[in-house]
Symmetry: C2
Subunit: 373 residues, 2 copies
């Protein structure tokens, strides 16, 4: 505990704060960039996880020039800071046509579509050229045209090809069902199935005479575990930059690759139930949760501070309950005796994207303050 | 749908936005203020739900001069805007002693304590007088001294009484276990038990010669349903200002008392599964969830816009899944045919406190923009 307290004291931190190990982040980026390079695919990382210009800039050293975001707001933020090739990996929200036109006039903006209705309205209202991807549903069933829906695929392809302001890029999918896989093999199987389904859909598109049809895939579990990207042109993982407990549980990462944790002050100790209460609730961690090895719901695990970085996941110290500002952590006797009120503890998040979204800045373990959207 | 679209167009809204019906808010405040008046208890509403100076000011017309918050940050925000009697209903975070001293020097700041350790350190570091409450655990088991822990209660009481800068106010509890009650009678029973346990604890305190010991209670379910507050000096409900789906399910409110909803653009329609996809995910609604009547997890329900306010809860249109920016809503055939892409829908939140925390402003149905922390 003393090392953590000293560190946070040196940062001037007195309330729940988001910490980041820059070395782990750089190593995570390095590994994924290398994997893309080796596989010969474009690396277009998703920036929705970190939402930070400064962290975005770290990617430039690994040759990244094109990015993915999940909202027009994020696209405008990164465009303002020098990114000029941005895919908004979210079905186009026509209500934001003014922002779309504003951005399309000055950067290479790429949009997603999965219905003729959106395409028609977009065609009427666009003022500048945009890159266009057809969103494909390869089994996740959130958005997208079914990979088997031959008619819709060809009809959308045809409409895009003949629209002067739409530049057909290809087919894009998010195999989010990889998060529901039960094993590493399960995740790899979803990857293979996804690529195979995308290649079938590409055949339909090529049948109508479109010659250049790229394939873009990209969830963190499959991108972390797969090595064979034959047939794929682009990958768009995002979460891998920080990883989290959910990814570690899935097997997408090792525990020493988790790059963010929330520092939380301890405000209470309750011996009769071996619990500590932290200033760190749903507004600091998000209420994302998962099942532990005993199928009990947990909202995070404590970790330690060792050799200048986060220690292992302490599975004997789960966050068992969250309310708006409070977290309840069950601990063993040893840790209970070690921790005092006014100490800080480190909590690894279940889902780092949602946790980081709650903050306006990161404190790196290396002593920097890094702002975000 | 057309009425909703027209309204939001007039507001200039194109992405997920938080809406509020000012009339419902005023009516909710009016009812709770009147209940407190009739019962002869001080009404010290919790401002963590709305976190807005402007909404806070609406309470002044109902005679409110003292408030509750859940963090020092909120206390500083409201103090800056003219509130001079604030209870931070969270066990004192000693790490924020500088902010505590800064505030205690200029307003009547009231703090909570449940351990001698915090009390001792506070005693050493405080520079100005603060009001002091002992936090009591009456069965929720989050924080607090057990209502039966005679020794600790008397020892804390004695230490507070003899500290020159600590002004003993009394005993304070949050019966958060009312949220787990299975029926209206269950909630009322928790209220009776809570008050009875607080009165026992008060007896222990009076036994050591402390004559003025107030009792403060205050979760929204019990404050909404109970009428008898005999023995209680102060109530601190917060959520009642907006209510939400969870409160309606518990029976604390009627559906026409829910005062906030999130407006979300529709981006996709999927006929094979009778689902629509909205731009409205965990970062817009929070991933708070509850079980529907079939014990399935839901993250919100659609409502309509009728006669200038929100319509009934549409239990045939649940938000069945949320990811970072996407929400999936299952709808019946009729609604499916009625809704188009680029329409807006209104989503009632499961837990309004967590949803509102994600926004920097409210749009009132009456056309105002109301900022918040």
């Amino acid at each position: 505990m003393h090392e953590i307290n000293e560190l946070l004291k040196s940062f001037g931190i007195s309330k729940p704060s988001l910490l980041l190990d820059k070395n782990r982040v750089l190593s995570n980026i390095d590994k994924m960039a290398n994997k893309a390079k080796t596989a010969g695919v474009r690396f277009r990382p998703h920036f929705k996880t970190h939402q930070s210009v400064e962290i975005g800039n770290w990617f430039r050293d690994f040759g990244v020039t094109a990015i993915t975001v999940s909202s027009l707001d994020m696209a405008m933020y990164f465009a303002k800071h020098g990114w000029s090739d941005i895919t908004v990996a979210f079905i186009t929200n026509l209500l934001e046509i003014n922002n779309i036109n504003e951005l399309a006039g000055r950067i290479k903006l790429n949009l997603l579509v999965d219905s003729e209705q959106i395409l028609s309205i977009l065609n009427q209202q666009l003022k500048y050229q945009v890159g266009m991807w057809i969103k494909i549903d390869t089994g996740y069933h959130r958005t997208g045209v079914s990979w088997e829906d031959f008619d819709t695929l060809q009809s959308l392809g045809e409409k895009i090809r003949t629209s002067p302001l739409l530049d057909f890029h290809g087919l894009l999918t998010h195999a989010g069902h990889s998060y529901r896989a039960k094993s590493l093999d399960g995740i790899r199987k979803i990857h293979e199935e996804t690529v195979s389904r995308m290649l079938s859909a590409k055949d339909y598109i090529e049948d109508i005479g479109i010659e250049s049809c790229e394939i873009s895939v990209g969830d963190t579990p499959t991108c972390s575990l797969a090595d064979d990207f034959t047939g794929v042109d682009e990958i768009r993982p995002g979460n891998f930059v920080f990883y989290d407990l959910m990814q570690e549980k899935l097997g997408s990462c090792a525990e020493n690759e988790i790059a963010v944790a929330v520092a939380c002050p301890v405000v209470g100790k309750y011996k009769d139930r071996n619990q500590i209460v932290i200033y760190g609730g749903a507004v600091h961690l998000s209420n994302a949760n998962m099942l532990d090895r005993n199928r009990k719901q947990i909202f995070g695990y404590l970790t330690s501070f060792q050799n200048g970085t986060f220690g292992p996941i302490n599975k004997n110290a789960p966050v068992v309950s969250l309310t708006q500002e409070h977290g309840i952590v069950s601990v063993d006797n040893e840790l209970f005796n070690e921790i005092d009120v006014a100490d800080f503890v480190f909590v690894f998040p279940v889902h780092s994207c949602l946790t980081c979204n709650l903050y306006k800045e990161y404190h790196s373990l290396q002593g920097e303050i890094i702002s975000c959207l």
